[in-house]
Subunit: 198 residues, 2 copies
Amino acid sequence: MYEGVVQDLIDELGRLPGVGPKSAQRIAFHLLQAEPTDVRRLADVLMEVKAKVRFCSVCFNVSEDEQCRICRDPRRDRAVLCVVEEYKDVVAIERTREFRGRYHVLGGAISPIDGIGPDQLRIKELMPRLNDGVVLEVVLATDPNLEGEATATYLTRLLRPMGLQVTRLASGLPVGGDLEYADEVTLGRAFAGRRAAE
Amino acid sequence: MYEGVVQDLIDELGRLPGVGPKSAQRIAFHLLQAEPTDVRRLADVLMEVKAKVRFCSVCFNVSEDEQCRICRDPRRDRAVLCVVEEYKDVVAIERTREFRGRYHVLGGAISPIDGIGPDQLRIKELMPRLNDGVVLEVVLATDPNLEGEATATYLTRLLRPMGLQVTRLASGLPVGGDLEYADEVTLGRAFAGRRAAE
């Protein structure tokens, strides 16, 4: 219905996650009226990301170099390795400033329905990192959902026989939330994991 | 928090309408993992749109040529001119296949709060199109909201003294909707505009 290249743009935008046909149209019209330099900046950064960004050869975090900032940082504790599903989980954990160890990005979680088993994740790349006796604790920081739990269970069974300390993030009430609005599983976990009051 | 160019991409995506920080992050991560050819196609079409698309010199519709497809089409009725706010309104009306005349795209609607008066719209470009005696009817198809109504009222006062037939799109109940859910203004308009049953 639209003039050729405008329709092409709407189609391409509609392929992005969370962008439906209406949003794609809205963004396209915005770009049609935007300054050419603004549109060029977006196009340039798209190409730049694909040219520059690769995955850290050690932990598979996103990186602009062969090794990511965290793996290159000598102040990071090499005794603790935090296993996450995705790059965005690294960023979320870094934001807390609670963790000073290093990471390993699996690239997803075990999900048989989606055809993702242990072989599709970067588990074979994880194992050599644990064999040198430097890593003492592995923190499994997968998502607290079905796939994340399955992945954590799988890794626990794999790593514990290696004599490593394997830990998981605490489950419980989110800080700042209302107890009455917590779902029953979360509230149940919060009870099971209750600690002595300080 | 993110590696340089990834943050640049998130920033650029966050500038698009309807894309908040979370969506921008989600789209950026999708693009990080996407095939380079897919990302290049998006970047290319962005540049192509800015290079190729301009506005029709007659009606200010979006066009890849000096005149848009509709203005170039000799089968379109030159006696009827439909005035709309934006390019997307042209597309919406074309989709109905009810209108065989031509268009004039104002580029917005009168909105004093946003600093948009008649001089900011393409009204001075509309006038010469009405002076040659070819156009007999002007259909004011502005949005049925405050700004659209103000624009239509302004244009009616301007055009009627020129001896032109000036019409507006009918207001009333949307087809397929439930009468009980219609807002009172729409229902009031539907009553005021009632017609003899066929």
